[in-house]
């Protein structure tokens, strides 16, 4: 499979009054065509900023540097604003976290849904409406004709997120970035939305980048997962590798904090203690060191190198060093 998106050494920082917030610190990853990857991490780990940087949708006080961002063989870092805009919505679609605020309250579903069709495909009003109906049906929205005339406040949260999905896939993009698409929804709706995304992925052969803090959301969808912490990727691998053979203590911590449905009612969830690092002054060593149970003196001094464990599996942790003590993951 060929690479659809390849990001090399992306660094994003925000200039704010008191200094520079280093939200993303030199990360590299790729997405194959038709593949779904998941980016997992807690709030402030830099997962959303990573994708907004790739899209070029950050405010102008953000500093984005990358050796290369290749999308479909084209270098995005060399594009001007107009070329980037031509890709937004047509080749890359985006779904955001909060469907309550992501739709413009003063425009109807039809106006918002047909906008990108008119811009990128030059459709006339009638053609755009016909396509919009199709899209609403694709997004499994009941009674689509009536929905077109409605305003966002007349729809439920799940419906709005379906409309957002319809907007994101309107121009049949090669890649859809879903930024916490289910976080603001209740659990049953979450499952429906994930089903829908899965279904669309198979039907439209779209690559999906799923950004979430919930490993459970990713398990059913993504073939590869990268775990982010403190603006760096601490572990990446296939879903199987991350779930069954995780190597980074942070990944262990994430897995231990998911409830298992094995029927053990006494199961204890183990939270990861402490708070994420202050990215205004990130620690010089491993960002996870202050919260890590297995922290060694070296962890606080030096950034751990990326250790490649296989074709797909890589981890950034000093425990991977041949001379490091062998530790066992504490199962939750």
């Amino acid at each position: 499979m060929s690479k659809l998106l390849e990001v090399k050494n992306l660094t994003t920082s925000f200039r704010i009054g008191v200094g520079l917030v280093q939200a993303v610190r030199g990360i590299s990853f790729h997405v194959d065509e038709g593949e779904s990857i998941g980016i997992v991490g807690e709030s402030g780990s830099g997962k959303s900023v990573t994708m907004l940087s790739v899209m070029g949708l950050l405010p102008d006080y953000a500093d984005i540097k990358a050796d290369s961002i290749l999308f479909n063989g084209r270098e995005m870092t060399a594009m001007n604003e107009k070329e980037l805009r031509a890709m937004h919505g047509s080749e890359i679609g985006m779904i955001f976290q909060d469907p309550m605020t992501s739709l413009n309250p003063l425009f109807t579903v039809e106006q918002q849904l047909t906008e990108s069709l008119k811009i990128h495909q030059g459709l006339k009003k009638q053609e755009a409406r016909a396509r919009a109906l199709e899209l609403l049906k694709l997004a499994e929205i009941p009674n689509p004709e009536a929905r077109l005339k409605q305003y966002p406040h007349e729809l439920s949260g799940g419906m709005r997120q379906r409309v957002m999905i319809a907007i994101a896939i309107a121009c049949s993009p090669k890649m859809v970035i879903a930024d916490e698409p289910t976080t603001a929804l209740d659990v049953t709706i979450q499952a429906q939305i994930l089903d829908l995304l899965n279904h669309l992925k198979q039907e439209m052969k779209t690559s999906i980048i799923m950004i979430t803090h919930d490993l459970g959301v990713i398990a059913s969808m993504c073939s590869r997962i990268q775990v982010m912490y403190g603006g760096t990727i601490c572990e990446q691998g296939t879903a199987r590798e991350i779930f069954y053979d995780p190597k980074h203590p942070y990944t262990w911590g994430l897995l231990n904090s998911i409830p298992k449905l094995t029927g053990d009612t006494n199961e204890k969830l183990i939270p990861i203690r402490g708070t994420p690092p202050d990215m205004l002054m990130p620690p010089k060593g491993c960002p996870f060191a202050p919260r890590c149970q297995y922290c060694m003196p070296v962890c606080r001094e030096y950034m751990p190198p990326r250790t490649v464990l296989g074709d797909t599996h890589a981890v950034a942790c000093h425990l991977m060093h041949p001379k490091a003590p062998k530790v066992l993951r504490r199962e939750g």
């Binding site: 047509s90 955001f96 992501s102 413009n104 309250p105 003063l106 811009i119 907007i167």
Partner: protein, 308 residues
């Protein structure tokens, strides 16, 4: 919608009844009257009493109040005590001048205020922003009588470009319209700027950008429509206030408008004129507010007109 309008109109009627009653009794509670000896020093008291009696002013206040209502319900605002003609004639004669100047001022305020606020928000922290904020602060803090004096001194006395009084040519409109719109421009610009800044931060603006909408359309369509709702709310009182005329501007530039007569009627104790103009202003405010509320409901579908 229709139900809502009827409801609002009924509420408006109630407002008017209260307004008329309060004004009527407050007016009469003031010591003296239109034909009291302190007003007309050179006329013998007996004559003044005869005149007052001929207007029914010798009757008890409650009776005068009922009489006034009787006439009012027939659409008759009475005869002006101190000027020639009926109050109805005065209002219909002087309102057009106020409305022309005020209407131009409303249009001018919107045409200048909204783009100013828009530019300030887009170029936040840049020269355009500071200029707008400085002008807006001046606009809000400089009183209109100072401004009108300064402007007529500069453009009429010194430069001799514009006439100082009357409404004979279009040149005459420039200074009064400028004076009237200075404060509203400042308000509209500040309001547009702050609501625009808020709108530009919203998630739906990011969604629009992610759809590939051009920056111009993001700003002028997605953000501006949201940012203008507070301006629409302000439009009702603004239109009512400007169209009915301003005493200061009208007397400064000798415009034969309603605002000038209103203040004169108060110092003259011209009861019927005071009541007539208060009723006219009140009606105007009620109707303008209703229109701006309906306008808001058209722009923002979340505003439900059926609820009260």
């Amino acid at each position: 919608m229709l139900k809502y309008i009827i409801k609002r109109l009924l509420a408006g009627v109630l407002t008017m009844v209260v307004l008329i009653t309060v004004t009527f009794f407050m007016m009469h509670a003031m010591p003296g009257g239109p034909f009291s000896p302190s007003e007309e020093k050179n006329v013998p008291i007996e004559v003044l009493e005869r005149i007052a009696a001929s207007y029914g002013l010798d009757q008890p206040v409650w009776k005068q109040y009922l009489n006034y209502w009787g006439n009012l319900l027939h659409g008759d605002l009475g005869v002006s005590y101190k000027t020639v003609g009926t109050v109805n004639e005065k209002i219909s004669g002087h309102f057009p001048a106020s409305a022309r100047v005020g209407g131009l001022a409303v249009i001018f305020s919107l045409l200048v205020g909204i783009p100013m606020g828009l530019l300030a928000a887009i170029y936040r922290g840049k020269v355009a922003d500071f200029t707008t904020l400085a002008l807006a602060t001046i606009g809000i803090s400089v009183p209109v009588f100072v401004l009108s004096l300064l402007l007529s001194y500069l453009f009429s006395s010194k430069l001799n470009w514009l006439p100082t009084y009357g409404l004979d040519s279009w040149l005459c409109y420039i200074l009064p319209v400028l004076c009237l719109s200075f404060n509203p421009i400042a308000y509209i610009a500040r309001q547009t700027r702050s609501s625009m800044l808020e709108a530009l931060e919203q998630d739906y603006v990011r969604t629009a950008r992610a759809k590939g909408v051009s920056e111009l359309m993001v700003v002028c369509k997605h953000a501006l429509k949201n940012a203008l709702t507070p301006v629409i709310t302000y439009l009702g009182p603004l239109v009512a206030g400007l169209l009915t005329g301003s005493f200061i501007v009208e007397s400064r530039f000798a415009i034969p408008g309603l605002g000038y007569y209103f203040v004169r009627s108060i110092s003259d104790r011209d009861y019927t004129m005071i009541m007539g103009i208060v009723i006219f202003f009140g009606l105007f405010v009620v109707i303008c507010n209703l229109i701006s509320d309906i306008l808001l409901a058209i722009v923002d579908p979340r505003v439900k007109l059926t609820n009260d």
